[in-house]
Symmetry: C2
Subunit: 345 residues, 2 copies
């Protein structure tokens, strides 16, 4: 098969069961699609595994399955999302991400041209993040047994000396910082899914945050906790942390930013933006004396321009997250008990 055949096939063809069969068709798909776009020296070794010499330091391993629907959405697609999601999980461990792996589960009949768009977006995101996809796997399931494309990415990172991100380092008196507006990703997906029209298009905030985290940790290696408020939003994430650290948290509603169009969409859809997923935002918990320094660093970074100190860690009410409302009242910000938005990542 020559390259002319390949591009013709990618314009018009679709995934079939032979692409997962372990034979020539699969080898060609891997060569002409995955290797062509994601190429890097480790992937080019062409083994079932990537071999490399790690830098010194503790390692972090994280994995994330991506089943988002729709696969393409304002601001991104499953390809870049699957890079950002795992890069961010690694970064939230305080680590510098080194390598990614990617496992594709493809549905028979999915257009190869769309698959190529996804792989190219993945390649672009990996290249921008400086984190190569070093090994992968492809499986194909019959029509009706999958949903186009699922991608599981796994990341490996290294923790800089002196960094120790752990929920049990959260202590009363520390402050809670948030890097930007809430709910953009979830509302972008839902708008697309429900065909909602707004004056301006709401775009996902999907982004790789390891650059921002790197700058923050370089200035303040003693940061206690980092977490990206994805599924379940900032409310679920903080509840999880408050429970794990056995502390209370009090948030200041006025400091939590929500874009007006996102707020309007949430109103319309009956959603609380505190429970809506983000894919390019982070929560940081640090000593009160470090907060202003970190805030300045965050505001100077493209992914932290709207950062704010949104609350504090308290002694009493262990496991409870509360919020001071505009009127001076206090309400409990509970766990998200069930499904709010399915297949958001």
């Amino acid at each position: 098969m020559n390259s002319v055949d390949t591009s013709a096939r990618f314009r018009t063809g679709s995934v079939d069961m032979t692409h997962g069969g372990g034979g020539r068709a699969m080898a060609e798909l891997i060569r002409d699609l995955f290797h062509r776009h994601l190429n890097n020296p480790l992937l080019d070794q062409g083994h079932d595994a990537a071999v490399f010499q790690p830098p010194a330091g503790r390692l972090v391993l994280s994995t994330d399955g991506h089943v988002i629907s729709p696969l393409f959405f304002p601001g991104g697609d499953i390809g870049c999302l699957s890079v950002h999601g795992t890069v961010n999980d690694i970064a939230m461990g305080g680590a510098r991400p080194l390598y990614l792996t990617a496992s594709f589960i493809l549905e028979e009949g999915y257009p190869l041209a769309d698959l190529e768009r996804i792989v190219m977006s993945m390649a672009r995101a990996a290249s921008e993040a400086g984190v190569p996809v070093v090994t992968g796997d492809t499986k194909v399931v019959e029509r009706g047994k999958g949903d186009g494309v699922f991608i599981t990415t796994t990341g490996l990172g290294v923790v800089p000396e002196g960094v120790d991100i752990r929920a049990d380092r959260i202590r009363p008196g520390q402050l809670i910082l948030l890097s930007g507006t809430m709910g953009d990703h979830g509302i972008a997906i839902l708008s697309k899914r429900e065909n909602l029209e707004f004056e301006t298009e709401i775009r996902s905030d999907t982004a790789a945050l390891h650059g921002l985290v790197g700058e923050m940790l370089e200035a303040v290696p003693s940061i206690a906790m980092l977490r990206d408020p994805t599924r379940g939003g900032v409310a679920s994430t903080l509840n999880e942390l408050a429970t794990a650290a056995d502390v209370g948290m009090v948030l200041d509603e006025a400091e939590i930013l929500i874009r007006p169009d996102v707020a309007a969409a949430c109103e319309l859809l009956g959603l609380d933006p505190l429970y809506v997923a983000n894919e390019g935002k982070l929560l940081c918990i640090c000593e009160a004396s470090d907060a202003d320094n970190l805030l300045k660093i965050m505001k100077a970074h493209r992914y932290g321009q709207d950062a704010a100190i949104i609350g504090k860690v308290t002694e009493g009410s262990a496991g409870l997250v509360q919020m001071e409302t505009g009127l001076g009242g206090m309400r409990v910000v509970d766990w998200l008990s069930g499904e709010q938005l399915p297949r958001i990542c």
Copy 2:
């Protein structure tokens, strides 16, 4: 929710969309199912990522999606298979597997009791292999958008000093060893799928081979290549290697073992066992002078009892795999061109 509720729910309940939503239902599923069965110190850290100090040496990273159908089959299930598959990919890089990650994509409505059986089987396999599952992820897709359970596992391993497994170390004059009978896994799956009855039940050979590989490499660190002949079978694997190393290969049909019931099933189904998947067998390519030593070690191991020297690497016919047949003839063992058995792993 107390533990009585949990076990009752696991007996009768099923996966619903809230289990992937990022809220309380997901946290409970993770705690009561995944953490309970797969527990180990790293997983118990309870983060989105596992942090650890690696041993010195080159690292190997490998990922594998598992979409096998049916999920339960004679000799195993998707749970143990997803451990064995990735442990073996790591071992075939010459490495000692250290850690696994697991990403679950669950279909709404799948019985929790069956999911628990799968997770328990995974836990048993991980424990037997001595390779803990240190972090994971769960997603849920709507009924009809998945197929019960898909599991992507990723493994990290460390390569012992002096070991260098690479296709381009394959050289003419080297010998090819195979650790046992061909086709057991694929035929076990297909028999189950097609409701075929044989006098004796054909069982999958699914097994973790890193123990066997460890003993082989300890005796002969200079092994050139290792590979497990999974999808596409021994024929596809050897074609891939012959192409990568730009060498020819000649196999001796008489030395390739096939269980009589597997041979009969292949006959019935019109399959060539050389193209049928294995999940507990390995190919080893080594210097001729090391072959007898390795064969002895393999035969002494529970997963290599039927090992044999099945062929040699040749100078001519680069990229071509041929087989000497019983009658003294020679036939080409070509690539598997399309699908033979879908969803075999």
